[in-house]
């Protein structure tokens, strides 16, 4: 304890500056969220895993130098070896290269489908919330109808109508998925519309476009990001499911789904053909899911202070 000297007992009062000081560093909402995300080891782990996956998806197919389509009947159905890290498939193709090519396709499909879902869903939801009244009713009814038709029917029919191609696949994947986004966006905007800061902007004379761009959109991003993080694994997974019905990508294009469905048919004999694609799928889905959980926490306004 420092000695108590008389100087220390001179009234000096306070300064405005000190009184109003904010000790915390200046950070934006996103920095804040990022900081919180960074504190979450699980989410960061997922992020790292996703980073590694991303790298592997780009360079993975080239590591072993095997082309993923050329067959080599002499070396079909090989197990794990130093030559073929994941073994080969039943036409003698290197499974390691194929898995990463497949993961790449799955990811791209999922990302594009998510983008479609987000764009359509956001616009649709915004329309519902903005116009309200009978427009809202009608648009809502359309969503209801789409949701009531078994999605399997929609998917298969769309693949039939548009043919078995990538575009059809994307449409089929996102045809029902956007409904949920639209609902969320609608709810969010309806809620935002009643917030005091939007009223404040209105009092200031802000035009609707300004309110949308400056207030609605930034405040919806959290939800949309979360939506993305959950939609991507869902699409990867749904696409994999379609491969089992024989619709989906055409050879030589492959996705994880195609690999898994091929692997399934050989699982009694060459389990590695099923194991590796499944493993990669699980890792991707798990990473996105855990990241999504982390994001939910990081973006949750109730957890901030």
């Amino acid at each position: 304890m420092a000695a108590l000297t008389p100087e220390k007992f001179k009234v000096i009062g306070y300064t405005e500056e000190d009184a109003n000081r904010i000790d915390r560093p200046t950070i934006s909402y996103w920095q804040d969220a990022w900081r919180r995300l960074r504190k979450n080891p699980i989410a960061m782990g997922s992020l790292v895993v996703l980073g590694i996956l991303l790298v592997m998806v780009i360079i993975g197919p080239h590591i072993k130098g095997y082309d993923y389509v050329s067959m080599n009947i002499a070396e079909k159905n090989q197990g794990v070896s130093s030559k073929y890290w994941f073994g080969t498939d039943n036409l003698g193709r290197d499974l390691f290269s194929r898995v990463w090519v497949g993961a790449r396709a799955s990811l791209i499909i999922a990302i594009v489908a998510t983008a479609i879902k987000l764009i359509i869903g956001t616009v649709y939801g915004a329309l519902m919330a903005h116009f309200g009244g009978w427009v809202d009713e009608v648009l809502m009814r359309i969503i209801e109808v789409i949701n009531s038709i078994p999605s399997l029917l929609l998917t298969i029919l769309i693949m039939m109508i548009l043919g078995n191609n990538l575009f059809a696949l994307l449409v089929a994947l996102s045809v029902t998925a956007w409904c949920n986004t639209a609902r969320q966006v609608r709810g969010m905007i309806k809620q935002l519309r009643e917030t005091e800061y939007v009223y404040a902007a209105e009092v200031l004379g802000a035009k609707p476009l300004r309110i949308i761009l400056k207030h609605y959109v930034p405040n919806m991003l959290g939800i949309l990001i979360l939506d993305t993080a959950t939609a991507i694994p869902m699409f990867i997974f749904t696409e994999a499911g379609l491969s089992f019905l024989g619709i989906g990508l055409k050879a030589p294009s492959i996705s994880l789904g195609v690999l898994i469905s091929m692997g399934q048919q050989n699982m009694d004999f060459y389990p590695s053909q099923l194991l590796f694609p499944c493993l990669v799928l699980c890792i991707i889905v798990m990473a996105f899911n855990l990241l999504g959980d982390g994001l939910r926490d990081a973006l949750d306004p109730r957890l901030r202070q």
């Binding site: 304890m1 420092a2 108590l4 008389p6 100087e7 220390k8 007992f9 001179k10 009234v11 000096i12 009062g13 306070y14 405005e16 000190d18 009184a19 109003n20 000081r21 904010i22 000790d23 915390r24 900081r35 919180r36 504190k39 957890l303 202070q305």
Partner: protein, 343 residues
């Protein structure tokens, strides 16, 4: 006040921290007070100074892993440290010995459970009543807190009640098992003055009738004046001054208390006359100042205040204040006039 009656509740060196993403929030930093039977203690202080956390600590509601009760913290109920209680004892203590009323009655009542059942739940848990007895008793409880047609009301859900009535239900729940201690965490802040009066009356009457000790948490000095015998003034996780009602209102010794009392507009003030204010904002509990927490806003701040936490000085009776101004070396400062002007 007298030595002969042992305090029913004694809080010693209570320290509670919350672990958040940003770091450790030291919400309560060494709170100390005692409460006697039938007494009403008011804890006042601004928002975020740790009043509710103190109350929750006494109720045993600090939850790991976010919340952490620091070592050496002691809460003695009839001389026994409740922090050492086992599960059984806790269950008996909570609700049976000590009850709490939260500020937001709507949020504090389970929206999906009938009001009567929420009262019965407490009765059945602590008084070993049968369902029928408890149901009857619940009606009585509602009648006691002045809810009309209690027979009908027990079968309703909280959202069918008005704000004042919900708060009365909370009171009924709290009083259901005749607790020895009642903690009211800002029970009337959300209510109108007319309803607020009714609620305070009910609490006061029940307190008198049952000899219950009350801890009233509020930042409304008017409410404090109405109900309390003892007052603890809290600032930034610390009790800066405590004493009897008269002590605090008429002989306050801490600059914060001065400022607090003066900043309340009084009806006898002249129109648009400048009010006394406390400048600035309270410190951040994430990194509380080493010295006196009030030093950044205090007109009497001295260099020592920024360096070291002052010890509590006693002024006779139970009146204590923690301020360097009462150190012998400090200049003599009188409490400024109650009227207007900055401190």
């Amino acid at each position: 006040m007298n030595e002969q009656n042992n305090p029913i509740l004694e809080v010693k060196n209570l320290r509670v921290s919350y672990h958040t993403y940003a770091g450790e929030v030291k919400a309560v930093r060494g709170v100390q007070f005692s409460l006697e039977k039938g007494q009403a203690l008011a804890i006042v202080g601004e928002s975020g100074c740790g009043k509710s956390v103190t109350a929750k600590s006494i109720m045993g509601l600090i939850k790991a892993p976010q919340g952490e009760m620091k070592e050496n913290s002691e809460i003695l109920y009839h001389g026994e440290n409740i922090l050492k209680y086992n599960k059984k004892q806790w269950q008996h203590y909570k609700g049976g010995e000590c009850a709490i009323i939260f500020q937001d009655a709507l949020a504090s009542l389970n929206p999906t459970m009938r009001v009567g059942k929420q009262i019965m739940e407490n009765l059945m848990g602590h008084k070993n009543m049968t369902k029928q007895e408890a149901a009857k008793e619940a009606v009585e409880m509602l009648r006691m807190v002045g809810i009309p047609e209690p027979e009908k009301r027990v079968r309703q859900y909280p959202h069918e009640f008005s704000g004042g009535m919900r708060q009365r239900v909370m009171i009924a729940i709290a009083f259901a098992c005749d607790p020895k201690i009642l903690i009211c965490d800002e029970p009337t802040t959300a209510l109108d003055v007319t309803i607020q009066g009714q609620i305070l009356d009910i609490i006061k009457n029940l307190q008198k009738k049952n000899q219950t000790s009350v801890i009233m948490i509020t930042h409304d000095l008017g409410v404090v004046a109405n109900i309390a015998q003892k007052i603890a003034v809290m600032y930034s996780g610390i009790i800066v001054e405590s004493g009897t009602c008269e002590d605090i209102f008429y002989r306050p010794r801490h600059p914060y208390t001065w400022a607090l009392i003066r900043s309340v507009p009084r009806l006898d003030l002249k129109n648009k006359q400048e009010l006394a204010t406390i400048p600035g904002t309270p410190p951040d509990l994430l990194n509380p100042p080493v010295g006196c927490p009030f030093c950044t806003r205090c007109s009497y701040c001295m260099p020592i205040c920024k360096e070291e936490m002052p010890e509590a000085t006693e002024f006779g009776g139970e009146h204590k204040a923690a301020c360097w101004l009462h150190h012998p070396m400090a200049p003599k400062v009188e409490m400024p006039n109650l009227e207007g002007g900055e401190l």
